[in-house]
Amino acid sequence: MRVIPVYRPRPSALHAARAGAAAGLCAALALAGALFEHPLITAAVIVAAYAAGAAAQVGREMSRVALLALPLAALVAVINPLVYSEGETLLVRGGEFLGRRWDVTLEAVAAGGLAGLRVAAVVMALGLLSAAVDPDALLRLFRRVSYRSALSAALAVRLVPVLARDAGRMGEAARCRAEAPERLLVARAALSGALDRAVDVAAALEVRGYATATPPPRARRLWSRHDLAVGAAALAVAAGAIAARAVGVGSVEAYPTLELALGPAELLLACGLVVAATAPLAGRSARLGVARA
């Protein structure tokens, strides 16, 4: 099972939108997730990313991303109370170890949970980017800025699953031997194989004129309705999140006691994020194709 989703073309408005707009929406969601600690808002970002994915026909991939996000969030939630012992409500009185006290407080547990949720929100937004935005088209955007870096990134994107497949094959071959070799030996051989593969790809690039490559000229492409709708949604999500943060919506104070602002502004922002992120992907306007004659 692939936890990190791989882009596949699907008949959806998000896939049909230009890479810049679609990536913009995902980046805006990630930004919203990163800006706020408030659980209602980070949960809204998670819901928005999942709902946008479902509307873009990558719901299954987003479920797998959630499987990746959950343990990451749990890890952050567990580590935080072990590292921070601020807070007034003591839950567990730990002993002295390595020159410090290891107390666990309710506030540190809560702050860990909030930070975990924040991580999950960012992971979900990036998962949506990985599942629904064509990496080749996205990297083409950057080629005018730095052609070789963009191409290297494109290669890395392509080679990561290929190398993972190589490593899987080597693992199978190890199982076919009378005596399984040490893992370190297999890992070293897999690394050598990766280098061989990299040399082959470099040769393929050379014979396609890489050494004399020039940045491609600017491409002018008219904005489709999906480009406009998804781009507008990205702007709305980003602008809404930044403005709300600037005026102090969704403020959270974890220490010394947990204080959460929970009013109409937070509710409005949470609902607004979900609606703005999913609106261009749902309903009649999101349908692809042309009207019947």
Partner: protein
């Protein structure tokens, strides 16, 4: 006479760390619009010559070059692959290793984008080359979802999108099934005829492309040993390099017939013209499943109503019933994606069936498609021990790094690693002849016979019909995850369309291999 597209005068090249040169004083001249086949056994210098023609040698690989090699007047010693790429398109052996980007459209566009072409020009060129090569339906696919044949066509499209005058291909069909391999050669012929693209193709199985070629250059130890039209090459091969002769040329040579035919059509015409129709029995249609007598020894390996149904895809194997007896030599055939590799992996226990059961009389050895995956140590001796090296014929390379061995040597070593000292009830080999020349295939066939002689059931998944006819006493044909034919090589390969040997096609299935076909023809001649 038109100006030559490429010409070499006493061109030699030695790789940086090699003791011997890979190319020795090569003289050649390639005309525009010509179709040239490069023949030669493994290590004869075919790939190096192709890499020299596109500038990878000496600029990318490094080494010592002498003499002259020019492409359209540009010396490859002074001009690198990027400059020569305007004139040359290159397709390598393994399509997976030359695809750079994730999307097909982006992949085909890349050479033009490197040249800074306008988006409109790129879009038009991609559309045209896709239509010309029949890959237009793949344009919006991801490269990691394509079959080997599709990927090779995409690589060909990327090599041709800028309309090069010279197309260089290094064993492009070695990873493909017979259907995809034949399609590729026909496509090259069309490109050559319709667009005038000069084609240079290195190929072990020259019979695939001789009919399309104007000329064959045979290399021996890096030197040109024969340079002439296909018929002259075949006559030369019959006398001086039997390993390079096609099956039909060997058939004619052994029968005392002249001249050697360059294609099945020519062979049939020659036989018909000489009133020679081998009088063997016509092959019977193969049975769907073999009936086994009740009782007898238990099977070495048996698959009973085995299914593999993917969670989010079609069934890969559908109700496979297959029994392999001790000492049996079975060729498992079928086009790419028919389920051969999955069946072997399941027989070994790497994949669990979703339904059905598998019975194994003992240990099962499996050699997967990529022999390099088995080789994890720094020295060959550490991989297979002294005994294994002896069996692989590699005792003299005991201290060599397995990655420095040739393809054939690596294959033999990996087989001994997989066998791990022996004692297996079944030995399974997945596509072991990819990119192998005939002497190595003959050696592998002998090893298969030895393993079967020692009591193991041996099953080999292969696309190589000649190899199957050489080693197998039974051929199982898979299609869409089902057994669609199961019988003797004569039954299955004698009357097939694609899954048939060249000799069988020329003799209407009366014989599969040159030796037995020649015996029939000699009998006809006496009569």
């Amino acid at each position: 006479m038109p100006e030559p597209l490429a010409c070499a005068e006493r061109f030699s090249f030695r790789y940086a760390e090699a003791a011997e040169p890979s190319l020795r004083e090569v003289d050649l001249s390639l005309e525009p619009g010509s179709f040239t086949v490069l023949a030669g056994v493994s290590g004869s210098g075919k790939s190096t010559l192709l890499r020299a023609l596109c500038g990878l040698v000496p600029h990318f690989h490094g080494g010592e070059a002498s003499g002259v090699l020019e492409v359209a007047g540009m010396s490859v010693r002074d001009h690198g692959p990027a400059e020569l790429s305007r004139l040359c398109g290159v397709v390598m052996q393994d399509p997976e290793r030359q695809v750079v980007l994730g999307g097909v459209r982006a992949e085909i566009s890349l050479p033009l984008e490197h040249r800074g072409e306008s988006p409109g020009a790129v879009a038009r060129a991609v559309e045209e080359v896709a239509l010309a090569l029949g890959v237009e339906r793949l344009l919006d696919r991801r490269t990691d979802t394509l079959s080997g044949g599709e990927l090779q066509r995409v690589a060909l499209a990327a090599a041709l999108v800028h309309r090069p005058a010279l197309l260089l291909l290094d064993e492009p069909a070695s990873q493909l099934d017979p259907v995809a391999g034949d399609e590729l050669v026909w496509l090259l012929r069309r490109l050559n005829e319709d667009w005038g693209t000069a084609v240079v193709i290195a190929e072990h199985r020259t019979e695939r492309c001789l009919a399309a070629a104007d000329r064959v250059i045979a290399l021996e130890d890096g030197a040109v040993a024969c340079d002439g039209p296909p018929q002259r090459f075949l006559s030369w091969a019959a006398e001086s390099a039997e390993a390079l002769a096609t099956p039909l040329a060997r058939l004619f040579e052994l029968s005392g017939l002249r001249p050697p035919p360059v294609s099945v059509k020519h062979a049939r015409e020659a036989l018909r013209g000489g009133d020679l129709s081998p009088g063997g029995p016509r092959p019977q249609p193969p049975r769907l499943a073999r009936r086994r007598p009740r009782g007898g020894p238990p099977p070495a390996l048996a698959l009973r109503d085995v299914w593999l149904e993917l969670e989010d895809g079609p069934a890969v194997l559908r109700g496979i019933d297959l029994r392999l007896d001790p000492g049996e030599r079975v060729a498992l055939m079928g086009r790419n994606g028919a389920g051969k590799s999955t069946l072997l992996r399941m027989a070994k226990g790497l994949v669990e069936p979703s339904r059905g059961r598998i019975e194994r009389a003992g240990d099962v050895a499996l050699l997967l498609q990529t022999p390099g995956d088995y080789l994890v140590h720094e020295r060959a001796r550490e991989e297979a021990g002294e005994r294994g090296l002896e069996l692989a014929g590699l005792a003299h390379r005991a201290e060599a790094n397995p990655r420095d061995l040739s393809g054939g040597e690596r294959q033999r070593l990996a087989l001994e690693v997989a066998l791990g000292g022996g004692g297996h009830s079944a030995v399974l080999l997945d596509e072991p002849t990819r990119g192998m020349d005939r002497p190595h295939k003959d050696a592998l066939a002998a090893r298969v016979r030895a393993l079967a002689g020692a009591g193991a059931a041996v099953a080999v998944a292969t696309h190589d019909t000649e190899f199957a006819a050489t080693f197998a006493d039974r051929v199982v044909l898979l299609g869409q995850g089902e057994v669609i034919a199961d019988g003797s090589p004569e039954e299955v390969l004698g009357g097939g369309w694609h899954f048939s040997t060249e000799v069988a096609r020329a003799t209407d299935g009366a014989a599969l291999l040159a030796g037995e076909g020649a015996a029939l023809l000699r009998a006809e001649l006496v009569r």
